[in-house]
């Protein structure tokens, strides 16, 4: 007759005040870096924050946070472990570092399962790190997570923005709230992205510089907090 998991998802988000998905039409634009930095800086600002990594085939937040061997507790569902002060859920809790060859249908099923059984408790904000593109994960989060909002990441490259424009058009068509667009890894400020974003009637959130120190800070949130990158994201989170 029917999938019993769908009906319970709304309840799981009852005490989560905001859900912000960091998404992009394109891969490698910094979604995971931005999602992690936003989550950490919202937490530093005194909020209770969760981080959900939905990029099952190339999860990255666990590398950025430098966590390993975390495991959710089973208690009337599953309760995500804490990682650097964040309620943190990732498929890597279960897959460790093995390849996860999942078809779209499997991705969809795994997302529904996680959304149905994960008990976030009370959160001011849940940040969701999305996979690239417009596939099962994007369509399911839009369909299933009540009042989800999007931050869309891009680089200054025309190749990246072409894909990002497609995602923005889709989100607009579907009337999904878009907080704004974050341009990342900017080397020469003053490109055309701001113009294009504003032409779509959307907010241009920030021009985040390319920052060599980001690579060094992988796996170490303390080091990350000291980077220019983090400070620029902190400014974005302040205005959220």
């Amino acid at each position: 007759m029917s999938d019993p998991r769908i009906a319970i998802i709304e309840k799981r988000f009852q005490k989560v005040r905001r859900v912000i998905a960091v998404s992009s039409g394109k891969g490698g634009v910094g979604k995971s870096m931005i999602a992690t930095a936003l989550a950490l800086s919202l937490k530093d600002r005194g909020h209770s924050v969760g981080l959900l990594d939905l990029d099952f085939t190339s999860p990255a937040t666990h590398v950025i946070l430098g966590v390993e061997g975390l495991y959710p507790e089973e208690e009337y569902g599953i309760v995500p472990p804490m990682a650097h002060g964040l309620r943190y859920m990732s498929i890597t809790h279960y897959s460790v570092d093995e390849p996860t060859p999942l078809r779209g249908e499997d991705v969809s099923n795994a997302i529904i399962e996680l959304l149905a059984i994960t008990r976030w408790g009370e959160l001011d904000c849940l940040v969701v790190d999305m996979p690239p593109g417009i596939g099962d994960a994007t369509l399911d989060t839009i369909r299933l997570i009540p009042s989800i909002e999007f931050i869309v990441a891009t680089t200054p490259s025309r190749v990246a923005f072409q894909s990002v424009r497609r995602l923005l058009v889709l989100l607009k068509d579907l009337r999904v709230p878009i907080i704004g667009v974050c341009e990342n890894m900017v080397m020469n400020p003053g490109g055309y992205v701001r113009e294009e974003v504003e032409r779509l009637g959307l907010e241009y959130l920030a021009s985040v510089a390319y920052d060599e120190e980001v690579e060094e800070a992988l796996g170490d949130p303390e080091a990350l907090r000291k980077t220019r990158f983090y400070k620029e994201l902190d400014e974005v989170s302040r205005r959220l």
Partner: protein
């Protein structure tokens, strides 16, 4: 204990169905339990007894097991599930997210992880029976 979360889903779904169909008393809920997820029937039953709302006061909670069947997309081979030789970690991972099967199980013929879970993935609400308000 994440069985509780699944039973919450069963009850919410059945309640919604009852409401949509004017059912004021549910007499039976049949749930199909796929073997792959390895959920404990006793825990499901216990959770149902504890979570049920007055609508389900007199409802029978029927659990039906469904063996897991895999079908390889690469070579067509079909085979079943066994937890034999699996570490507890792997078994737990599949318990929480049955799709982890594609990480830890390979086609028994060709070794591919590209198989379909044709049957027996997880918990499924099969049928509900009840009494309509105007009956």
């Amino acid at each position: 204990m994440h069985e509780w979360a699944l039973v919450e889903g069963v009850i919410a779904t059945a309640a919604r169905f009852a409401e949509e169909n004017g059912i004021t008393e549910v007499t039976e809920v049949v749930v199909v339990v796929g073997e792959l997820q390895q959920v404990e029937h006793e825990v499901l039953e216990f959770a149902f007894e504890n979570l049920k709302t007055p609508l389900f006061k007199n409802a029978r909670f029927v659990l039906e097991s469904q063996p897991a069947r895999f079908k390889c997309r690469n070579c067509g081979n079909e085979w079943g599930f066994t937890s034999e030789g699996m570490t507890e970690d792997v078994s737990e991972a599949i318990h929480f997210v049955p799709e982890m099967a594609h990480v830890y199980i390979k086609c028994s013929e060709c070794g591919s992880p590209d198989f379909e879970v044709a049957e027996g993935r997880g918990v499924w609400l099969a049928t509900i029976k009840g009494v309509k308000g105007d009956e």
